[in-house]
Point group: C2
Chain length 266, copies 2
């Protein structure tokens, strides 16, 4: 199935990037999309930068083979390690999730005190600190790795005392720093946004990188003159392993069913 050179290609190490796809589809319903979840190699967060770059390039090649006009790296770890590398190597525009999230945080904060939560890989990379400092050097950023939030989201364990306590434990240190902005630096975390919002209280703004990324995707399409003129938008889903379980869990992330998931070997 070829979506023609008119589709937006989106990849993630697994299922989390569907929260980014969801925001892109909400904002740009006329654009066709090809989503690739590299479920055979999930998660990227525990892997080395070199390995992540190799996997990201493999994902990009699969999507380019489907004739995409733009590439969205809907994975924080791959955004941290591979966006510049892909931008240099590929002929289509490449957008990651880190830069848009960092930009949104830099505009949201009043006190200049920003918290970031993400996987161990994303936090260890320091990518949000660097990206935010490049935009607004007058800010301070505190980060916290939250390895339990991905399995909580994938379990659908998104309310009740257990996720509340886990979230409270992870956020307590950040809140002591009196942050006024919190970046959800992992594409799984929007599923837990209700309890994260409750934990941080009304004085902290939450930045959802997925939303910020969808806005940047629109900007880039328009600026490059390659936005779709409308028509019959198609949704294609590719995975490198276990299509059934992707379709099942994906429903939670996308807020609607996924009809057809294609297995690709690469």
């Amino acid at each position: 199935m070829d979506n023609g050179p008119d589709a937006i290609g989106i990849f993630d190490s697994g299922i989390g990037g569907l929260t980014v796809l969801r925001r892109i589809v909400e904002r740009l319903p006329g654009e066709s999309t090809v989503y690739l979840g590299d479920t055979a190699r999930v998660p990227y967060g525990t892997k080395s930068p070199d390995t992540v770059r190799r996997y990201a390039m493999a994902c990009a090649r699969v999507l380019l083979g489907r004739g995409i006009k733009m590439l969205v790296v809907a994975c924080n770890t791959a955004s941290a390690h591979a966006v510049e590398y892909l931008q240099d190597a590929l002929d289509v525009p490449v957008v990651g999730v880190v830069e848009p999230g960092a930009r949104a945080a830099a505009s949201c904060t009043v006190s200049g005190r920003i918290g970031v939560i993400g996987t161990r890989g994303t936090v260890a990379s320091g990518v949000y600190e660097r990206a935010i400092a490049a935009i607004r050097p007058d800010t301070r950023v505190w980060s916290r790795a939250c390895p339990l939030l991905v399995p909580l989201a994938e379990e659908g364990w998104v309310r009740g005392p257990v996720p509340e306590q886990v979230v409270a434990a992870y956020l307590s240190e950040l809140l002591e720093h009196e942050i006024d902005t919190l970046v959800l630096g992992c594409t799984h975390y929007p599923l837990l946004s209700d309890i994260i919002r409750a934990a941080v209280g009304p004085s902290v703004q939450i930045v959802d990188s997925a939303e910020a990324t969808a806005a940047v995707v629109e900007e880039v399409l328009v600026a490059a003159g390659i936005a779709s003129s409308g028509g019959n938008a198609q949704r294609t889903y590719l995975v490198s392993d276990a299509p059934e379980s992707f379709a099942k869990t994906g429903r939670e992330f996308l807020n609607h069913g996924i009809d057809d998931v294609e297995w690709v070997d690469f």
Copy 2:
């Protein structure tokens, strides 16, 4: 570095199998060991049986290249899907962790009511149910996937209210079935054995597959006449990604430091 044809080869998708290595070394201190953590592809639990078999064979080949005399599949998912396949294909004895754990559970239980906890992949495979039923058809087995326990163990978050509540939530249903034996069907779980023991109370026996597996390894070595006559036991550690982080987290699992971790590409 070649450990000669006298080493025991042990592999896992990552770090969890070190709990098995630990028990093997405690029981058989004179045996050299080569441990391989397939950290580039961790975790196996979310992957399809075919993919797991392919990865398991790749791990076995790396270890055979080091001249091992026996192979231990120290990963429940790979034991579920690949042990028979490896036994058919390889010339050295192959031992998984499921069969020894199932055997120990079948001998422990008095009431015949057994609980099993493991990753989603292990539980979905039904491998413990089948293995226990094959030994003692008069038993009943209830299983529960506990996806949060691996990240808890890897975080070192092994005591306090959060892991206690997570463990209690996972075990409540099993305890309603009045089990008298609980199998830790994931090599990470021995790190949480204190709070698991507290949660189930004194009337439930806990079966640690790692311990049971080490006992079977000894039986097989002796039966095949290939037990080491003693001497200078060597410890070799191989990983497919991120050797530093393996060495760091591995200390918790092994209860002593790891000097040297070698990266292998396969």
